[in-house]
Amino acid sequence: MAEEGYSAEILPAEQLLQALQSLISMVKIYQANNQLVVSGINQLVKAAQVLLAGRDWVVVHLENGRFFINDEKLLRRKGAANILENFYTFLSDRRIPGFRIMPAVATASPEELTGFVQLLNSCGDQSEPAEWLEMRLLETGVGWISILQVDENIQARKEHPPEELEAPGRRYPKKIYAYTLRALRETAETIGEGKRFGMRKTGRMIQAMVEEISSQDSRMLVMSTVREYSDQIFFHSVNVAILAIQLGRELGVAKDALERLGTCALFHDLGKLTMPPEVLTRAGVLSEAEFALVQQHSLDSARLILQGMVAPVARKAAIMIPAFEHHLKADLSGYPALGWRKSPSLSGRIIAVADAYDALTSARVYRRKPMSGDRALGLMRVGGGNAFDPLVLKAFIRMLGVYPIGTLLDLGGGGTAMVSRSPLTDDLTRPRAVLLCSDDQGGVSRGEEVNLAERDATGEHRYRIVGSAHPSVRNIQPAQLLI
């Protein structure tokens, strides 16, 4: 077998780790008997059984940035690299060196299996997560898995020299963002020339975005915090695409449907390209006639897609409709007024939420100071009325956490931090954040990353959150600091 050839065990090993990774987010939302969870469990058990064939156990351990399956380094295949890297990060964040799976996995109940994943999710705020996890498993009599402990016979080996956690993925979010922006600009230029626009480049970029987000990588979500006041339509559209795909993924939308959702979101404001610039840039109060022009933009987005997009009818329809619907509101009291009663599609409802959030957290001509993420969500929750589907909004909040990525947090005496990742535990008010340090040039630099859910010996939270603010108050683009 060639050195970099893939053995027959690669796929089940990847499938095992991928199943665990998927279950980690699914059990936060769904119960054990939910079909998505059941499917994840089946994949986990099936993969484990393949690996267990003829063995007493399978050991998965982490070392120097790589997974090892029964002491054999798991080769990194491009198709699975992102997901595995994130699962590696998930475990290493919690200082869990690995685990051992026994044949009893075949007879473990779904509740036992999901119970383990829930414990994995909860151990983040423990001082010794691996030890705590192992104790919980022993207490509950779980016989199919045990947790390796930090000092358990794992040492750096000379034949596996330390390698930096290969981080090509860390370059991808910025590239994908830039390329998607470019694809949208080209589309806009083509529309401006009165020509039809092909979907080849846009399709590839949205697919790349879906792949990146499907690896449960919150770094793409970091990119959704990029703000550029003078070029809003394009940056806003890319941000809404990221947020929409991320939310769709959380809800269990299939990959091909995520592509459609992302494309709709990217094109949802195409109609603004045909609005008079003086209306778009008016800082003062709009007249009713001018607002009527604004209200035309969602129908115009659909029209531009209809006339311009080179695509089969079915695909065109799937892209047009959510773009048309995004201001309808969940109770159809929005615009344009419909001559029929039909609730917006799920994609339309997702885009409505993503669109509003990005708009509220951006400076606009009519609102020069953007709102912090927690305030935008609060306004949408309390002041939204029937504008948003309540479940879609709730899922969006669960996805972002109360303090979304990029939010500045005042920790009182503990300084200032920027939210860097979603919460590790079920407490959505306690994300992970990087401490900010002032540099010599009057700017800020990134300090260590802390888990705001951490508690001290007395059981109190180690960090107090006193206040929050939009990153623009410190002139920070979160993507520059966090990626």
Partner: protein, 455 residues
């Protein structure tokens, strides 16, 4: 701890000895065989029908070669270069650049590495060949490409690495440091401006106000309770995802097209909307979704009437629509639906009847010719109704149906003639039916003739 450093080797695998100089290893030979089979497949797929023995044999051969490789050596992986496929550093397939060279086609699509993993199934091979064939020749205005199509297909045992760097760094560089989230410091305007509208869009909260602090989600009472998802909510979310299908989008798109037709006043928009509706209409007909098809046809008829009155510039677009949907082969396909009458629901049958009634009279001639094929009584009844409707308006239809071999149809036409009460028509059409072999036809003919004093 188990020591699993050796790979289990099947008993019939060749001995692990290095090949003699000049001889290829078993792995390379197996790879060459598999790649040769794949190359034959991509070139010949589609030449014969799917059920043809040549196609079946070819697909089985491809699958067999890849599977044989995979059982011993694992995934079959090769690098893709401009004119060649490379296996373990050596070309395993070469050819000149062009659409006939699979390596070139994959390379042009941006693919640098291709993998067939163990477990490959025949349907995946078929799908791969279909996609390859479709995108082998690059379109002028590509709506899509091979990589995107492969991605959507999600073939579980076929992997590839493809570059998405479709532009240069210079073309796409974003200077994130230079971006500014805020308006320029010297720009005019209040901090917050009211906007017409209601709900959240009308809400404005100034950052200096107390409300700004209080509106944070973190201060929501019972936040944890709010954030938890109940079982019922989870199920609702799942149902929402399941219901969000492309088919649903088509229906909404149809309504959107009519909204555009009603509101827009530019000919190109009408052309685009009617072009869209034409495709959807034909798809509905092909899938025997007659209610949906009728909805389109009926509403287009209404819009066409509006266009006649007040939008003459839109008439060419409507004429183009009817020119396509009234083509004989389209009508034939409608009529061909009748044998499936028994499997259709009542509403679909009614809709099909309504469609046929909207179509021009010449369709009735086809209906008359097809009447023999309709065996179900309810279908025959509806057929007759449609023919009668057309016959009332069109003498040719009336005459054709009158001369039908099917007694039921002839009698129906006699009833129409009686109803029309036109002596000239009676004189022209009926006399020979006095001698018709069917007694009921003869009797009815005599009654009608007598009523006009024709003996």
């Amino acid at each position: 701890m188990n020591d699993v450093t050796a790979v289990d080797v099947p008993p019939d695998a060749p001995p692990a000895v290095p090949p003699a100089a000049g001889l290829k290893s078993a792995e390379i030979l197996a790879a060459e065989k598999a790649v040769a089979a794949i190359m034959t497949g991509v070139k010949n797929f589609g030449v014969f029908a799917p059920e043809h023995a040549s196609t079946i044999n070819m697909l089985q051969g491809v699958l067999r070669a890849i599977t044989q490789y995979g059982e011993i050596f694992g995934s079959l992986i090769f690098e893709v270069e401009r004119q060649s496929l490379v296996f373990q550093g050596k070309p395993i397939y070469e050819g000149p650049p062009g659409d006939d060279n699979p390596a070139f086609v994959l390379f042009r699509a941006g693919i640098s590495r291709f993998e067939f993993a163990p477990g490959l199934e025949e349907n995946e091979v078929v799908r791969f060949f279909e996609i390859y064939n479709h995108y082998r020749v690059m379109a002028d205005e590509p709506d899509d490409d091979l990589v995107s199509a492969l991605w959507r297909a999600g073939l579980p045992h076929i992997f590839y690495e493809a570059s998405y760097e479709l532009w240069s760094e210079a073309e796409t560089a974003v200077d994130y440091d230079a971006l500014s989230a805020l308006a320029p410091a010297d720009s005019d305007g209040p901090e917050v401006t009211a906007r017409p509208g209601k709900g959240w869009e009308a809400l404005r909260v100034e950052s200096s106000s107390d409300n700004y602090r209080k509106v944070s989600l973190a201060l929501l009472p019972n936040l944890n309770e709010y954030c938890a998802l109940s079982q019922a909510e989870q199920e609702t979310l799942l149902a929402m995802v399941a219901e969000d299908t492309p088919a649903g989008g088509s229906e909404a798109a149809v309504r959107l097209m009519f909204m555009l037709l009603a509101r827009e006043s530019a000919a190109p928009v009408h052309e685009a909307a009617l072009g869209f509706l034409q495709e959807v209409y034909l798809n509905f007909l092909a899938n025997r979704a007659f209610q949906r098809a009728y909805f389109i046809l009926d509403n287009i008829r209404k819009e066409a009437m509006v266009a006649k009155e007040s939008k003459p510039w839109a008439l060419p677009a409507f004429e183009k629509f009817y020119g396509v949907v009234l083509q004989p082969e389209i009508i034939d396909s409608l009529v061909a639906a009748w044998p499936h009458f028994g499997a259709m629901g009542a509403m679909e049958v009614k809709a099909l009847g309504a469609i046929l009634q909207q179509l021009p009279a010449k369709i009735a001639a086809q209906l008359v010719a097809q009447f023999n094929k309709v065996e179900i009584p309810e279908a025959q009844k509806l057929f007759v109704e449609i023919i009668v409707q057309h016959a009332r308006r069109d003498r040719e239809v009336l005459a054709a149906a009158l001369h039908s071999e099917v007694e039921q149809l002839t009698l129906a036409m006699l009833a129409v003639i009686r109803e029309l009460n036109d002596r000239n028509l009676v004189e022209q059409l009926l006399p020979k039916f006095r001698y018709d072999s069917r007694s009921q036809v003869r009797q009815e003919t005599m009654r009608i003739l007598a009523s006009h004093n024709i003996y």
